[in-house]
């Protein structure tokens, strides 16, 4: 069981900076994120894009900003639980919450700061009729163990790196690999594109371009997919597995069922200290909403800063908190 002062859900820029502001008040933080690395959207969606509205940085690449934040919070030794999604919330004591992740990790803290951005990143599921029926019965959105597909027929859809890479890997494992992509150009790494083309020429991969999967066939398990190709009528390909690889998209996820007041997919907060309707739970950054809300990293930093002041008073109601400038007091990390 992990114990901390503030459990931060979401390791994006706002969650990360909150560790710093909490650290100045001697509060320890632990972060959970469904992604395998810190940085949230900045790392996952746009690491190479410049951001122009971080004060003091006329331009900074999103990925670099995350690196700087990690450096800035290092003295406060935050804990990280990455690649796990905060699933369940329990109030175990008057001032103690327990959060359990989808992998069973248990984390306890008197205060929870939800800095979940747009939610947790999950694979994009094609809006094909009946797709839910065949999930785990022939349809996988994530490949965990390639051995599962040994001597099976597999259809992969998508045009990015993961579609290309898995096509290459599974070409040696599965009996038949078909790659379906909506156009003839691929956006993946050139090496991978060339490899797939050469496997297709050797007949090791069945490459179908300018086509999309538009239907699914089967009974208890998936039997075939229906393909729609430019200039061709619909045709069917028999298969054991269909693996759509269309990248990740954020979903609010389990947090939406925690009893928090939600409006338009965001958590309603009081701008006094960004508290939610549940005492001890705050929401900061893109995940919250209030009149005049702007989804800016800059605003999230402000929200996290005010929030930790309130969290301190919530945890230690009898202690006096005197505000100190870092320029005067310095930054004293944790041992």
């Amino acid at each position: 069981m992990i114990q901390t002062d503030i459990l931060i859900i979401g390791a994006g820029p706002v969650g990360l900076f909150t560790v710093f502001e909490a650290g100045l008040l001697k509060l320890k933080c632990h972060l959970i994120d469904s992604l395998g690395q810190p940085g949230g959207q900045l790392t996952e969606i746009y690491p190479k894009k410049p951001i122009y509205d971080i004060p003091g940085y006329p331009s900074v690449l999103a990925g670099d900003l995350v690196d700087r934040l990690m450096e800035q919070i290092a003295p406060f030794k935050p804990g990280f639980t990455l690649g796990e999604r905060a699933e369940k919330l329990q109030q175990v004591d008057k001032k103690l919450f327990k959060v359990t992740t989808n992998k069973g990790t248990e984390l306890c803290a008197p205060v929870i700061a939800i800095a979940g951005g747009l939610g947790c990143f999950e694979p994009r599921k094609p809006p094909i009729d009946n797709i839910e029926i065949f999930e785990d019965k022939g349809i996988d959105y994530i490949i965990k163990d390639p051995e599962k597909y040994r001597n099976k027929r597999v259809i992969i859809a998508g045009g990015g790196d993961s579609a290309l890479d898995w096509t290459i890997i599974l070409a040696d494992i599965a009996t038949k690999v078909t790659l379906i992509h909506r156009r003839s150009a691929f956006r993946g790494a050139i090496d991978s594109v060339e490899k797939v083309m050469s496997l297709a020429n050797q007949g090791k991969v069945n490459l179908i371009t300018e086509a999309q999967v538009s239907g699914l066939q089967g009974g208890d398990v998936l039997d075939a997919v229906v393909v729609e190709q430019d200039g061709n009528p619909f045709f069917q390909i028999d298969t054991d597995y269909f693996i759509p690889l269309f990248g990740l998209a954020p979903k609010l996820g389990p947090i939406g069922d925690w009893g928090l007041e939600i409006e338009n997919n965001a958590i309603v907060v009081d701008t006094y200290d960004y508290r939610t309707n549940i005492p001890g739970i705050y929401a900061i950054g893109d995940v919250n909403t209030y009149p005049g809300k702007l989804k800016l990293i800059l605003c999230g930093f402000h929200e996290g800063t005010l929030m930790v002041q309130s969290a301190f008073k919530y945890i230690y109601p009898d202690q006096k908190l005197s505000f100190k400038y870092t320029t005067v007091a310095g930054v004293h990390g944790f041992n």
């Binding site: 969606i45 746009y46 994009r124 599921k125 839910e132 990015g160 909506r182 538009s214 998209a249 954020p250």
Partner: protein
């Protein structure tokens, strides 16, 4: 009112929404749909990085060609057709008066 154009958006239930939009505020179609509370997510904020504003252009308007970024991003959308565009990449200009688009199905 030369700086206002009229646009029709067909939502995912097939309902037509007739919108008015200014052309002097450098808005794009994703932003206009959002401002009318139509179900367009625009997750990435208009950087052509999320494909959540995928729409079909139904009218005959001539739009600037897709950039490589937009084309790449459409790879992560579904049921992409010849007339598929990302709303965030359609800049509102006077020439687009009468534009008609249909919102594409999104990831379930």
């Amino acid at each position: 009112m030369s700086d206002t154009i009229h646009i029709t958006v067909v939502d995912r239930e097939g309902v037509n929404h007739h919108l008015e939009a200014p052309t002097d505020m450098s808005l794009n179609m994703m932003e206009v749909c959002k401002s009318y509370q139509l179900p367009v997510e625009g997750t990435c904020g208009g950087m052509a990085l999320c494909a959540s504003c995928h729409m079909y252009v139904l009218s005959e308007h001539h739009l600037p060609d897709k950039t490589e970024d937009e084309e790449d991003m459409l790879d992560q959308a579904f049921f992409v057709r010849e007339n598929s565009r990302l709303g965030c990449q359609i800049k509102l200009v006077n020439e687009l008066d009468g534009l008609c688009v249909e919102l594409a199905k999104t990831s379930s």
